[in-house]
């Protein structure tokens, strides 16, 4: 049996799944100041009558890190950056306590200027005086050569043991982007302690409940990581809520071709995409609270417009959102909302029709239309807003920069052929929207708890980069901390090394390892080829341990 728990801002959902069946599900309000307590409460409800020793896996999707970053509720972090020449380093003082160190590594990972250890010590002493005990360390081109970051780590271990929490930039991502890597390193360090406390509370609570199953934490890429990993890189768990819901759609729907997925909530509509049953990734890393990071995440765009968004008239025009003033009138609120329009039109038969009608009345009067006409107009407008956003998204995705002639000439444009909708108003709204977008549609059966299902069934993911420079005689996999000497290397061997190294990381996974990019360049100096540069990336892609039994509305 698998336990999946998705902690949202308002509610926490939990499911207990055995093979293809949902055995139990629950929904509780989230206690913002104690997420661990909420989780344990959900666990208790779900397993009340079951034997805890049958639980084989517990997967958690939490907003812990996301919330902490959204609130900028950070303990002091000392940020050490080694930018070398380039963009103005003052632009990357993410922490109030940022020190810029000398030293530089070039694009091929060669040391151009050494680290000045006295300077590092002075910076660390300054942090100590400011009572800072956490350090984030990030150097430009550190995925090409992490030497300086590692040297500082060693210095801290040997001479400054009071800094007990630290993050090295190159371990978080092998991608090149110094500002993003610096932001990611800083944020990761800032959330480490909260994650530690959370994990400790969860472990203790689960032990009290007698649950001994391994616990995994959901990541932004729709995969999971172990608790140990989550203590190293808690930053990976940001945006795991939308990721859970995307994986839930995958678990509960038969997706064919290219699918547009909408999660229609109270105040927002989340838009994501699947191609051949695979969720699409964000082209760059996740952006959170104005921090651009290198955290890999599933593609998800939010539109500030949901079932409970306020409908009003501005300049003689109907307008939906961005405000929300409580529930829809049909569900106990006061002001008109898209949900009320759905109730008036009979598309939603659960809400109170009279209340919905009442709420639309003033709008109808002002516009000189019948209530039904106004309701139609609201639904139409809602659909138009979604359509516009979808067009904008597809435009952006279909014009992603590419760097080879082959890619430029073979770009296949993303064009959805079906629509899947989850969330409260989905059942009422999706058929109309699908008609407008000229797409087939489906609404999964389990939609109110689809996110918890996604969390429960998600499996581990991993990604890794290989960079080889045979002229300098080495290759490395920065995320895994591997550097090896090598005289010669061809692309096929490089791919094999990458696959094997990644497989070692998840010894129990039978999932295929996918090479996501691989290219080799001859280095020519004068008229001689002096070596190869090889760049390759691989992943264990997000997926499900198993699917649920089908059945659509």
């Amino acid at each position: 049996m698998k336990l999946g728990i998705d902690i949202g801002g308002t509610n926490t959902d939990g499911v207990l799944i055995k093979n293809e069946e949902v055995l139990a599900s629950t929904k509780l309000s989230t206690e913002a100041d104690s997420l661990a307590a909420t989780i344990l409460k959900v666990c208790r409800e779900l397993i009340s009558s079951k034997k805890t020793n049958q639980i084989s896996q517990v997967n958690l999707s939490t907003t812990l890190t996301t919330n902490q970053i959204a609130q900028e509720n950070f303990p002091p972090v000392g940020l050490l950056i080694i930018p070398g020449p380039g963009l103005n380093p003052d632009w990357y003082h993410y922490s109030p306590a940022t020190e810029v160190l000398s030293g530089s590594i070039d694009h091929r990972g060669r040391e151009v200027a050494p680290l000045n250890l006295n300077e590092v010590k002075a910076a660390l002493k300054k942090f100590t005086q400011e009572e800072i005990s956490r350090v984030a360390i990030c150097a430009k081109f550190s995925p090409r050569n992490p030497k300086h970051e590692i040297k500082i780590k060693k210095l801290i271990k040997d001479e400054f043991p009071e800094f007990d929490l630290l993050t090295l930039g190159h371990q978080l991502s092998g991608k090149l982007n110094f500002p993003r890597r610096t932001a990611t390193t800083y944020l990761n360090t800032a959330v480490l302690e909260t994650q530690q406390q959370f994990i400790a509370a969860i472990k203790e609570g689960l032990a009290d409940l007698g649950i001994q199953a391994p616990v995994q934490v959901l990541k932004a890429d729709g995969g999971t990581m172990s608790l140990t990993e989550s203590l190293q890189a808690p930053i990976e768990s940001i945006n795991s809520g939308p990721a859970a819901s995307i994986m839930g759609v995958l678990a509960t729907s038969d997706l064919k071709g290219t699918t547009l997925a909408l999660d229609i909530g109270g105040t927002t509509t989340d838009i994501s995409l699947f191609i051949d049953e695979k969720p699409l990734f964000k082209p760059q890393g996740v952006e959170i609270n104005n921090y651009k990071t290198l955290v890999r995440g599933l593609y998800n765009e939010s539109l500030a417009c949901g079932g409970d968004s306020l409908v009003q008239i501005v300049d003689q025009q109907l307008q939906i959102a961005p405000q929300r003033r409580g529930n829809a009138a049909a569900y106990g609120g006061v002001d008109p909302t898209p949900t009320d329009a759905l109730v008036v039109l009979g598309l939603d038969q659960q809400g109170q029709l009279a209340a919905a009608k009442n709420s639309l009345e003033p709008l109808a009067k002002q516009l000189g239309l019948t209530v039904k006409k106004v309701a139609l107009k609201i639904v139409e407008l809602f659909c138009t807003k979604i359509e516009e956003k979808v067009t904008e998204i597809l435009n952006k995705l279909n014009n992603q920069p590419v760097y080879t002639i082959n890619e430029l000439l073979s770009i296949s444009k993303i064009k959805p052929n079906s629509l899947v909708g989850i969330g409260g108003p989905a059942a009422a709204l999706i058929p109309t929207l699908a008609k407008k977008l000229k797409l087939d549609y489906l609404i999964p059966n389990y939609s109110p708890i689809v996110n918890a299902i996604g969390a429960a069934l998600a499996r581990s993911t991993k990604k890794c980069t290989l960079y080889a420079d045979t002229a300098q005689g080495y290759y490395q996999l920065p995320e895994l901390g591997i550097t090896e000497k090598i005289e010669q290397l061809d692309l096929a061997t490089a791919k094999k090394i990458l696959q094997e190294s990644l497989a070692e990381q998840l010894p129990n996974s039978k999932t295929e390892i996918e090479i996501t990019s691989a290219q080799s360049f001859n280095m020519v100096r004068g008229f001689n080829t002096i070596g190869q540069i090889i760049e390759a990336t691989a992943q264990i892609k997000p997926g499900l341990t198993n699917k649920l039994r089908r059945g659509h509305l």
Partner: protein, 445 residues
């Protein structure tokens, strides 16, 4: 941190990582590999206001509007060329449609050695990306557009000069290592334009070992004042990067800072990459410098790994030479309207000349007889007779007629008559008439 560009910049960054002229050629897959790494690692694409776009693929019509390919564009031009030219076109569209304040096309292969008539490839160039872009703009946004080129590649921009030599709406300024010391050899101060655009071609040969000092002297005292006077609608920097002190093919001593500062002062609407073959030590830094400068951002921290301040020092003899040439060009610019064209070109009706153009990539020599009508009503009909030697593909002799923009009716009439005559002349295996006004190329084989 959210850094915002002072001026929005469109970036067409297309390193064509899977394309080379040949495996060890300077134009090979590796050329912009390190630049790509630097661009990605510096995170410039995350700066608000700097937006990346893919190139378009130019059409053969775009090529035929600018060039006369012999025997035809299909046989000369390949997809990588069309993509490079399409990159320049995309950059120009972004600027003209006001989607960005300026645009920089980091594309390859370069274009500035490609002449109007194209029987093959030379100087790593086949078709002239920037000219194709300009002809597209004039066709789409108005023939009266005034364009200024500032070509800062170490090699003389002989191709672009050729295309605009007789075009008074296009000012072409080339700063380059003295042609007596470098390919292609041309670009002396005496080359000032044809009879229809005398004074609108300006060449400043810079002595070998010219540093940032000399380049900026020329910029401050020649380029900027003349642009001020000409008042172009668009300024284009043909941004060659082989003036760099580490470039293996040239002997100049410009730094990444020098390039960045140049773009800061020039503030071009469009920059189009040309040559530059110090792929590890120069290109990554120069390109970041240009990007920042064009976006109006601080670029003072950009430095090559081996940068030493002494590199900026310049020999007094070099400074004196540059000053003298700048003075003579300023005089030429001032006096251009007053000069007697018939006297200057020693002719009455037609200015004729012969020239020989070497195609280093394809290893043949083209002989051209060039004839420009001296016309008081327009810039004048252009006639070219072209043949190559050795002619391994049996292309034979070709005749090319060019009807310029804003042509007068008598030149137009003459062009069509001469085209007709030439098609009946067995001497010519191929006859072409490029009509800029009608935007068409007539071909008779």
């Amino acid at each position: 941190m959210n850094i915002k560009a002072e001026q929005s910049l469109g970036l067409i960054f297309f390193p064509a990582l899977d394309w080379s002229i040949s495996p060890t050629h300077p134009e090979r897959e590796e050329r912009l590999l390190y630049t790509k790494d630097q661009v990605l690692e510096e995170g410039v694409l995350d700066i608000e206001g700097i937006k990346e776009y893919n190139p378009e693929v130019a059409s053969l019509a775009d090529i035929n509007r600018t060039h006369v390919c012999i025997p035809n564009a299909e046989e000369i031009v390949t997809k990588p060329h069309l993509i490079s030219a399409g990159g320049a076109i995309k950059a120009a569209q972004l600027v003209m449609e006001k989607q960005v304040d300026s645009a920089f096309a980091i594309i390859r292969p370069p274009g500035h050695h490609a002449f109007r008539v194209v029987p093959g490839s030379r100087g790593f160039c086949t078709i002239n990306n920037e000219a194709i872009m300009v002809e597209y703009l004039r066709q789409k946004y108005g023939t009266e557009l005034k364009i200024a080129f500032v070509d800062t590649d170490a090699h003389h921009a002989d191709g672009t000069q050729d295309i605009y030599y007789n075009d008074p709406n296009v000012l072409h300024i080339s700063l380059h290592q003295d042609g007596r010391t470098l390919f292609p050899g041309t670009g002396s101060v005496e080359e000032l334009g044809g009879p229809g655009a005398f004074g609108y071609t300006l060449n400043l040969p810079l002595p070998p070992n010219t540093t940032d000092q000399g380049l900026h002297y020329a910029l401050d005292n020649l380029v900027l004042p003349i642009l001020d006077d000409f008042q172009p609608d668009l300024v284009i920097n043909a941004a060659g990067q082989d003036n760099h002190y580490s470039d293996p093919l040239t002997r100049m001593r410009i730094t990444a800072q020098g390039y960045a500062e140049l773009n800061s002062k020039l503030n071009p609407d469009l920059a189009i990459l040309q040559g530059g073959y110090s792929i590890e030590s120069a290109l990554p830094y120069i390109n970041i410098g240009i990007i920042l400068a064009m976006a109006g951002l601080d670029h003072l921290n950009i430095k090559e790994p081996d940068y030493q301040p002494e590199i900026k020092k310049q020999d007094a003899i070099i400074s004196d030479k540059i000053k003298a040439r700048v003075d003579s060009l300023r005089t030429a610019w001032k006096l251009k309207e007053e000069s007697d064209i018939q006297k200057e070109f020693q002719c009455t009706d037609y200015y004729t000349t012969q020239r020989s153009i070497f195609y280093d990539t394809d290893q043949f020599r083209e002989n051209q007889q060039l004839k420009i009508k001296v016309c008081t009503d327009c810039s004048g009909l252009i006639e070219i007779i072209s043949s190559i030697r050795p002619d391994l593909r049996s292309i034979g002799q070709a005749k090319v007629l060019i009807i310029p923009f804003e042509v007068c009716s008598s030149c137009r009439k003459e062009a069509y008559q001469k085209y007709q005559q030439a098609t009946e002349d067995p001497k010519f295996k191929h006859v072409y008439l490029q009509d800029k006004e009608e935007d068409q190329l007539l071909v008779s084989n």
